[in-house]
């Protein structure tokens, strides 16, 4: 919905050259139930928005999908920075070092207890040695695809803006400007904790291992 939101669309159309690139195929898990029956689940991965100068060098990054409102203001902020400074190499480094220092001083963008709990839960769900069970675990916390009246929608849970931005400021403040392609691995693997792989995987339901359904605090 974010890139169909009228405010976001208008802002992007008036001020940016928009481009998308695929980092990997979507993951599709197919569970073979036998007798010709199967269940398919689509695991949408994370996304990242890179704000780049016209030469393609990144001056800011918004990792993960956020609400249209949050995305709109992130784009506005990036645009204001670009207009004010031209996003020179020096301005980019100075801006991100300053922001990172501010967040450090305010202890902002650190994982909260609920984030830490979620990470433990996620590790628990994916700890199984059985790949089919791991896929089921991933399905339960990834973006979920639904079909309603022949129209498909994707439901996601936005969040983590401050957590991700702290890591973005740290990275962009300590490295020379790079292209989105050069930042890709750091953004997806280190910041978003998302492997850059996808494709169709088939599992036999008879191989699924039991998983823990009782959470521990």
């Amino acid at each position: 919905m974010t890139f169909s939101d009228a405010r976001v669309v208008d802002l992007v159309k008036r001020n940016f050259v928009p481009v998308w690139e695929s980092v990997a195929p979507v993951s599709v898990a197919v569970f073979d139930l036998g007798g010709g029956r199967s269940v398919r689940g689509t695991m949408g991965g994370e996304i990242a928005l890179y704000f780049c100068r016209p030469d393609g060098k990144v001056f800011d990054v918004l990792p993960a999908l956020h609400s249209p409102h949050a995305t709109y203001w992130a784009i506005q902020e990036a645009l204001a920075f670009y207009r004010k400074t031209g996003a020179t190499d020096e301005a980019i480094a100075k801006h991100h070092r300053l922001r990172f220092a501010q967040m450090q001083a305010e202890e902002a963008g650190l994982p909260t207890p609920s984030v830490e709990k979620w990470k433990r839960w996620r590790k628990l769900k994916t700890r199984s040695t059985d790949p089919g069970t791991r896929a089921l675990g991933e399905l339960s916390y990834s973006k979920s695809g639904f079909v309603m009246d022949s129209e498909s929608i994707v439901v996601i849970e936005p969040g983590g803006m401050q957590l991700f931005k702290r890591q973005v400021h740290q990275a962009l403040g300590s490295a020379p400007p790079k292209t989105p392609e050069e930042w890709k691995r750091h953004v997806f693997l280190d910041i978003l904790d998302q492997e850059l792989k996808g494709g169709e995987f088939r599992y036999d339901v008879d191989t699924l291992a039991p998983i823990s359904v009782i959470e521990e605090d």
Partner: protein, 111 residues
């Protein structure tokens, strides 16, 4: 008289040839050809394809949506952003670039 007959034949043939959007009702091959023609026309074809989104036939709606997605670069978009498909197409313009990295393809369902 001959000129009048010629004009009548032209008028009749214009009336009988289906509108491009009507070809989306045809068989798979006809519809795919029609979609390719819409895509070749680019953004100029968007208003016509948008009409197809309101069609009573879900197959026509889906095909219109496919055509729109191929033109705009975004599945489900009919009047929004027109995306480029690679950084090489985007650099060197007089504007900053907004680059979206994602899994799958943004112009396909369930990207």
């Amino acid at each position: 008289m001959r000129r009048a007959i010629g004009a009548m034949i032209l008028a009749v043939s214009a009336c009988s040839s289906p509108k491009p959007i009507d070809r989306l009702r045809g068989d798979e091959r006809t519809a795919n050809e029609a979609i390719a023609q819409f895509v070749a026309r680019g953004e100029a074809a968007i208003p016509e394809l948008r009409e197809g989104l309101g069609d009573s036939d879900p197959t026509v709606r889906r095909r219109a949506r496919t055509g729109l997605a191929r033109i705009t670069g975004q599945w489900g978009s009919s009047d929004g952003i027109v995306w480029k498909r690679s950084m090489s197409e985007a650099v060197g313009k007089d504007r900053p670039i907004l680059a979206l990295h994602l899994f799958g393809k943004f112009d396909e369902e369930f990207c």
